[in-house]
Symmetry: C2
Subunit: 346 residues, 2 copies
């Protein structure tokens, strides 16, 4: 946080909004009218509009003790863009509502907005409206993202078919292990404020937690290779519960291979420091914002071109249930809490 | 509130969302995909999309001591629809994010949603998505509304012209006086819990506060009479500050006539019980959700057909400033806090 402190009350509500939005330059032709009126106006020129919303509440979704405001702003945008990409769509606009307590200064809010604008620039998205209000307690963030997709090209969760390949992007479990480190360091700091944080070598997992990215590259790869996933969603909870969503909404079962689940080497090392199974982190940890999707088997040859995509299993009929085959060859039912690795190795 | 109490935890997050959204029937052809995926999909078929968002926080925007949850749900929708109508557009969808503390039961949430759905049905709007999360303290509501408008037919705040007539819908100040009654009764109740509330005869102003409506009828009247306002916004703060928005954003001044400001007879009586000037309530009170707009002078003959519209003044050049002419004939600058009647008559 900045050292200077300017009270929000010095600007007033209108002045505050003007201060925070004065540098906006709209990037999309679809953004017909932006901040400053009763509502924004968008023209997707014959494309369909995709809309999603997420609320982040201090003390529930984030802890300002170890979350830089710049990263929080960035992540607030990313979690919504991830939902838009999960529809096979392109994000184009966001609106942002904030509840702010008076312990925030203009400088801290500026840092938060810096993160918002950085994400907007990187992903080519316009901030076109919002609402800024006071909160009695805690910082409250509500982002709604809009995107566009060619008519009927969006991809739902409910349309996977038997025999489809089950795939994930990137690697999983890192954000959860990053959170464990941050929580541990916070606890040590609370007990012994003089102790320096020991996060050496953990930048990968901590970055996964504090500054996730949305998988624009995967959706662009689909477009380039003319792949249309048969179903897709983003992985904001653990892999287990998301796979169960696809199974339930598509009325299918699946087989998932533990050995195929993508695990980053730094995450693996970090998980062992906490004596937990990396696979369990991937299955039950959340906030990785990777994509989970299914494709027709004959798209396999195209998929292998992309190192960022792992085929982790396949879809079966519903009666077969949803199962994971462990590295040891045993078979377990997938549960929403993950597959109990967290308990068995502790 | 209902007497039965079912803990939210008995359903789980997914179960809760299914419970709350199970009866949704989409009303608009534009709602291509609703609740239940990463995002909703909307096709406005060549029209432009209008988007607005508002956040309501317990203890800041509402007090559950005297706000029935059904009315709160209703009002949460209305305040957003009002912004869509203020663009001369038609609302079509909402997304809803909630932060809920564990003191809420399923039954109380059901009441809140009953209000949400009642407003949606009445205004022909679809609830197509959202996010439901826990809050550490207080009830937090964030609604984003989408609407549609024929290309470039939306009406901004910045496009009034010199000589245009300044108009408002309905009557003003009622919600503010309603709030005064509710706050008074709450205070009495806190001090002497046995005393029955004395709200006899105040149903009009209390209704204005607790269950406002959005002025769909005015926007439909414009369409029917082929009137396009030159500028428009909704009156969520007092009339004074909203007029100053139009003046500032259109780079104009104005003359407002006190005697033309529409005041309801029940509001007038109620204001006198608090020994405050009804005009001051209209100028400085908020939450009436009426429309403030300007029209070309030659639309006057059409406007007078509608008893729900009052011409209250006209636009001047910016250098002339923004003034109110009192009933006594004196001239005062309009200020965002209103024109100090609240102080002079107390």
């Amino acid at each position: 946080m900045s050292n200077q402190r300017t009270e929000i009350s010095t600007l007033g509500e209108l002045g505050l909004i003007e201060h925070l939005t004065k540098n906006i330059e709209l990037q999309n032709a679809s953004s017909v009218l932006g901040v400053g009126d009763d509502a924004a106006v968008i023209d997707h020129f014959g494309k369909q509009t995709v809309v999603t919303t997420d609320m982040l509440i201090e003390g529930v979704h984030f802890d300002l003790a170890y979350t830089p405001l710049r990263h929080l702003g960035y992540k607030s945008v990313i979690v919504n863009l991830s939902d838009i990409y999960a529809m096979n769509a392109t994000p184009t606009q966001i609106v942002l509502s904030l509840g702010i307590s008076n312990r925030f200064s203009i400088e801290t809010l500026d840092e938060f907005y810096e993160g918002i604008y950085t994400a907007c620039r990187k992903y080519g998205v316009d901030l076109v409206g919002g609402d800024t209000t006071s909160s009695q307690k805690g910082f409250i963030i509500s982002v709604t993202a809009l995107g566009e997709v060619a008519p009927d090209k969006f991809v739902k969760r409910s349309t996977a078919r038997k025999g489809d390949l089950l795939c994930v992007s990137g690697d999983l479990g890192g954000a959860y292990v990053g959170l464990l480190f941050l929580e541990r360091e916070k606890k040590i700091f609370m007990e012994s404020p003089g102790v320096q944080p020991d996060l050496e070598g953990e930048s990968y997992v901590i970055g996964r937690m504090l500054k996730p990215e949305a998988r624009r590259d995967i959706v662009e790869f689909f477009a380039k290779e003319e792949i249309t996933p048969t179903s897709m969603m983003d992985i904001s909870d653990g892999l287990s519960s998301e796979i169960l969503h696809i199974c339930r909404q598509s009325n299918l079962g699946c087989v998932l291979y533990e050995e195929k689940i993508p695990i980053h080497k730094d995450m693996k090392k970090a998980a062992f420091k906490f004596e937990i199974d990396p696979t369990a982190c991937a299955l039950s940890g959340g906030e990785d914002y990777e994509l989970l999707f299914t494709v027709q088997p004959n798209d396999y040859d195209k998929l292998v071109l992309n190192e960022q995509i792992s085929v982790v299993g396949y879809m079966t009929e519903a009666a077969a249930g949803a199962h994971i085959i462990t590295k040891g060859g045993s078979k377990h039912a997938i549960t929403a809490q993950g597959w109990d690795h967290l308990n068995t190795t502790r």
